[in-house]
Subunit: 430 residues, 2 copies
């Protein structure tokens, strides 16, 4: 008999079906057993009555434990009182695999214990909900750019050079040479934009940061669009449209998951255009006015970000950061060359920076001077500067970190729960 | 004035538009210039007449070279004689960036030269066509699994252990520990299948193979579905459906690209269900009958694969390879335990193995014995065997290599052209 998935039960009301899955929970009341079965697509209550089944089947049911794998057959019964509106009147039960002393029980467990058991933890309702939202957002990211005529150009992971400093790079021996794991696909997106006009990459990126905050992973996914002939104001609009699209999609497709996570949906529904835009100078003044201990010229730390977003119900865009704290490839602001044509999007509610981007330096000589000033090896960037040598053009792009975005949208405070198998400074397993 | 993209010109017939892009080619006939402009979405002919424009604009047009970036304005004229059916009657031309001695000219270049200039090579028509097919296939891969209710579970890149031997692993220092770059997400997909039923991962994987064949990259993308309660026969059907879906999508969406690549479309149209299934023993006999020098018990080399697929017009599935040449986690064939419940899909026309998969060992004791027999460290797999400890279940999955699939579908013989920035044994740049 073919397997029916729990999410498809509505179409099978009144029919005999076979369900396959794992025991989520169960209770017994004398001659009746109520089994909560999960199969990855949902949870359904399966009712087993001693007088309706053989002794052998009843006996097998005595052996059930949390996470025992089973195959059940029975009739789908529509019942408004049942969770999900359907239950199974079980006529047959076969144990496939026993589960003795499953480590994750309904009681509370510590973080380290749960992370050590991540391969089992992902079976839980809450982790399910988070990872389903993640899946929706991955789809939404690709749909957004595919739907706007962007070409996907996967960036390489092995790179000979670093785009933003070398202290946070993972290094590997590459047949006798040194290779580094990519921190960003941007350097590759620029020549790709010269080839395809509008491009994006979306893949894992790596930072060997000795950071143990709730916003850092050593391995995380980033999407990076890059657009030929785009300048900073349009880039801010693109980021705005993109983020509204992501939030809208999650609200459309994952309302039930967000409810499991007890996310305040009103806070997500408020995420509409336009996002407030703050010039860096104004942001610095705002912090000063709020009495935050912030030094003009610095990047924002978590407390600064929290103070800045506190007045708004949606993401804010801070633009024109000091050139000195930004990467060499960012174009200076013609109105004040000490600033750069850069922008960050800060999520509301203190979830921090989710987007960083800029218009790129498109003048060959200026870019080469910047590379020298940053003490970067010109030989590593000869191909990159070719974008300016052969038909240069204004262009701009940004990167959005997937895990921080999932964290914000799900309302889950630590990014380690937003990726199936998180990699942290002291966590490489499972 | 807003930018119009060349692919959208049809909707602008008779209108004034602004195009932005690069000079693909041009010719002059006295007082007329015919400029082929490319903008990443297409190529259009732009006609410039000396008597219709100012001296300044005409002067600027004398300065054009291949890959000069320009902004053109003019009226869109429908003309059946023009390539693409439209041309631009140019009224304004502005040079944005010059291009002196662009290195890739219409003459022939050697492979090494083109690979050294990959960042520019991707501007060419042929590379465009290949990478657009790649994009379509990436979408098709995700759509296939998303549409069938699979949950995307991204596998980690950093792993503490190798799933298939350690000789071909890239290693990195991970805060004092050793970490390896993933060769496959499969070990992570199995616990994920216990959580979500049907899952897939799709991301870059790494092999430090000292191989210089046209089928090998050190970094390539792989999609890996894993399905709870699935056994080998259904796995073969899944692979078959999946591959037909991919080829159909490319034919639907990329016919023009495939024509640029001079792909024989009849060969792709022949890719229909059912794919022939060959038991390994029968495949070995076939090779013997064909006089191929093949030793029973070995894996197939390229000449063996070519001999096997020669009789068929579509992919073939070879199943039940000897257990000794397959990974420790594959389940033995109950009818002959020296064989495994494994399968490979071989592409037609000698493009080689594009899919490898198996039903997994689901018995805890057997799996632990296999790990010991393969001299693998049990401590690295304690979490993995938990899938069998807590509610074990039959399950199966496969991996499909993206670049080999693109290579086959586009008819491009070397995988290095099927990924934007290929990584080969001696190639890490650009």
């Amino acid at each position: 008999m073919q397997q029916t998935y729990i999410r498809d039960l509505a179409a099978q009301a009144g029919q005999e079906v076979e369900l396959r899955g794992w025991i989520y929970n169960f209770r017994s009341s004398g001659k009746l057993k109520f089994i909560l079965l999960r199969d990855g697509t949902g949870i359904v209550q399966c009712v087993l009555s001693k007088k309706e089944v053989s002794d052998e089947i009843w006996q097998a049911s005595e052996d059930l434990a949390q996470e025992t794998s089973v195959v059940l057959r029975g009739k789908v019964n529509a019942d408004d009182r049942a969770p999900g509106g359907f239950e199974l009147w079980t006529s047959d039960l076969r144990v496939v695999g026993r589960a003795v002393d499953y480590p994750i029980t309904p009681k509370e467990h510590g973080d380290a214990f749960l992370l050590d058991h991540r391969h089992l933890w992902i079976r839980s309702k809450r982790q399910h909900a988070i990872l389903r939202v993640r899946h929706t957002l991955v789809q939404a990211i690709r749909d957004f750019f595919d739907g706007r005529g962007y070409t996907l150009i996967d960036a390489p992971i092995f790179t000979p050079a670093a785009s933003e400093g070398t202290t946070t790079l993972f290094e590997t021996d590459y047949f006798g040479e040194k290779a580094y794991l990519s921190q960003s696909g941007q350097l590759y997106m620029e020549p790709a934009a010269a080839a395809f006009g509008k491009v994006y990459c979306f893949g894992p990126t790596f930072r060997a940061e000795k950071s143990k905050t709730r916003k850092h992973l050593t391995e995380f996914w980033m999407v990076e669009p890059e657009v030929a002939f785009m300048e900073l104001p349009e880039l801010m609009e693109l980021a705005e449209d993109f983020i509204v699209h992501l939030v809208t999609r999650a609200l459309e497709r994952n309302r039930a998951d967000l409810e499991i996570l007890e996310r305040d949906l009103a806070k997500l529904e408020a995420v509409q255009k336009p996002f407030p835009r703050l010039h860096y100078n104004d942001a610095a003044n705002t912090l000063k006015a709020k009495g935050v201990d912030f030094q003009y010229g610095n990047d924002f730390g978590a407390p600064d970000e929290e103070a800045l977003v506190a007045d708004y119900d949606r993401p804010i865009i801070v633009h024109r950061f000091p050139a000195a704290i930004k990467a060499f490839y960012m174009k200076p602001d013609p109105e004040d060359p000490s600033l750069s044509l850069s922008m960050d999007v800060l999520a509301p509610e203190g979830y921090g920076e989710i987007v960083g981007g800029s218009q790129r330096e498109d003048d060959l000589e200026v870019l080469e001077r910047k590379i020298r000033e940053h003490n970067l090896p010109m030989s590593a960037f000869d191909w990159y500067v070719d974008v300016r040598r052969y038909g240069t053009f204004p262009h701009a792009g940004f990167g959005l970190g997937l895990e921080r975005t999932v964290s914000w949208i799900t309302g889950v405070r630590h990014v380690r729960e937003t990726i199936p198998f998180p990699r942290l400074m002291h966590r490489l397993k499972p």
